[in-house]
Structures are given as C-alpha cells and as structure tokens.
Amino acid sequence: MDPRLNIINKRLGNINRIIAVSGGKGGIGKSQTAAALALYLASQNYRVGLLDLDFCGPSSHVILGIEGVSPEEDMGIIPPLVNGIRFMSITFFSGGQPSPLRGGEISNAIIEILAITRWESLDFLIVDMPPGTGDPTLDVIRLMERVEFLLVTTPSRVAREVMKKELSVLRELRIPVIGVLENMKIKKDSPAGEALAGLKVPFLGSIDFD
C-alpha cells in the first residue's frame, strides 16, 4: 500500500486554486504561459506556487532564470521563493543532468514530490505540464483533487488536433477547463478561435508570435 497517496491532498489543502497549464503538444508555449501567469499573479500580490512537471524537458527554471537556490528540508521540503514565487522542479534533484525516466518512474517521482512538498498557504499553484496525456497528466487528474486546466494551442492544425483530444478527455472526466489560449498567432485570422466555436469552451484570446 502506497502511503504517499493519502497525504497528497493534505499537502495541497491550503491552496485555493490549482491550475495545470497543458495542451497536448510540445513547444506551443505551455511553460512560457505558466511562468507568465505565475509572475503576473505574484505581481498582483497573490501567493503563488509554480510546479514544473515536465521531467523530460524542464524549462520553468530556465525561463525564470533560477540559479543557485534549492528547497529547504524541514519536515518535508519547502520550495524556495524566487521572484515572489514558490518554485519546485525535478531539476533541483537531477541537477540539470539528463534523467531518462520511463512513465511509471515519472509517475512515482511526481507522487513523491507531491507527498513531501510543503506549499503551505497559496492562492494559486500553477503546474507547468509536459506535452502529451501520459502519466503526468493522468496523475494530475487522479491525484490533485481540485485541479483546473488551462489549455494552450497554436494556429497549427496539428497542435489544435492534439489539444482537442485532450479537451475531450477532460470533458469526459468533468475536469474544469478554464479555457483555451491561442499562442504564437502570426496571421490575422484565429483558427483556434473559430475551431473552438463549436466546442463550448471559453476562448481566452490570442498572443502574437514575437
């Protein structure tokens, strides 16, 4: 019996909203969006945490320019405060070296991190998700009781198809979806906005490519 599964929701108990930034495909700006959202909320004086669950391509620490900090060990681990954000990432443990983990191991590592991290009171915990709907996505759905999803996509048809698949899984499981954000818009028209018209999900707008 895995004791860690029973402590996770207690560890997340004093977090008001948990937002997973996802979207199926890689390279569409999930990490960029997650970091921007966390920084914005922190600037509005919210207490914010950022959890990078992209074990294969962790990038939040690069985007936030985090260096020379590490979690403190105190009846668990306390995420360091960086730019006003409580930050946790596998890179604290892999030291930026390659960590070729299979899905079951990624799942196990996520469970461990969720079980030992003491976020304490937060208004928002932003989760930077890896591409795909594999172990990390399934575990976030399974383990983080009150999670909501924010989906990112781009004008590319492939990206939109992958996002729609993830959306349909979330729908079926009745996981709240805050909305879909179209990133890297180049042309005037917004294919994502149009494609979403029939899907009854809030379209949050587009961000230009720059």
Binding site: M1, P3, M75, G76, S94, G95, P100, I116
Partner: protein, 137 residues
C-alpha cells in the same frame, strides 16, 4: 528531515485504512523502508513517535514494525539484476541526497553494472511502503 513528511503519510494511511475497513484495533503495521532512499532510521522513528502523538491512530507505536528492504535493480536492456549495495562506484553525497528526496533520479546518477544503461527497473527497495495492516473489526 523530510522523513517527517513520509512518517506522517504512514500514520494518515493507517487511520484511513482502519476507518475504511472498520477496524477498532490495529495489532500490527509493517512498513518497508527501501534501501535506495537512505532513510535516516532514527529520525524516521522519532518522527513516527511524534505523529502517533499528534494523530492518535488506533495502533501503538511499538506495533509499527520497520523492515529494511534490500534494493534490487534490473536492467531493461541486458537483463542484469544487481543489488544497490554492490554498485561499484560509491555515489557522491549530493547524488545520494537527491536520491533520498526523489529515488527516481537514480536514473540520473546510476547505471547498469553490466551494460551501462540508465534504463533499469527498481524491482524492490525503492522507498517507504506499507506492507500490511493487521487488525480486528
């Protein structure tokens, strides 16, 4: 010192399970402590003691048995099976510490002793696990 977080998970689980199974008394809880995670046993026991006082679970501290679980690894490429203890190169202190927090980063710091692959399974002895909870309704 993050042993406290793991000890807490043990006690919370014993309480949840005994409630779910409607156990009025728990005789014995067996906890496996996987070698790979290098848990500090004294700290872990001390933490358990404190958690028992805090949560007052339906089990006495002396009936929580800790068993060290040998860590056995198996390579997915060449099939080689080896013991963590027999890894030829001793890990550096910071590597051990990282594995202490997240045992999976063993794949960053360790390699199959036969073929050098990082693609191995942890067959047993990974971390903290409840082997059994025995009690009566």
């Amino acid at each position: 010192m993050h042993e406290w977080a793991l000890a807490e998970s043990i006690i919370v689980t014993v309480m949840k399970e005994s409630e779910k199974e409607k156990l009025s008394k728990v005789f014995k809880v067996t906890v496996k402590i996987g070698e790979l995670q290098s848990i500090e046993l004294d700290i872990f026991k001390f933490a358990l003691e404190n958690m028992v006082e805090l949560y007052k679970p339906p089990v006495d501290l002396e009936n929580i048995y800790l068993e060290i679980d040998r860590c056995i690894l198996k390579c997915k490429v060449c099939g080689n099976i080896w013991n963590y203890r027999d890894t030829p190169k001793e890990l550096a202190e910071d590597e051990k510490e990282a594995i202490h927090f997240v045992p999976e980063v063993a794949h960053t710091y360790m390699r199959c002793t036969q073929c050098g692959s990082p693609d191995f399974e942890i067959l047993q002895g990974r971390g903290v696990w409840i082997d059994s909870i025995e009690g009566e309704k």
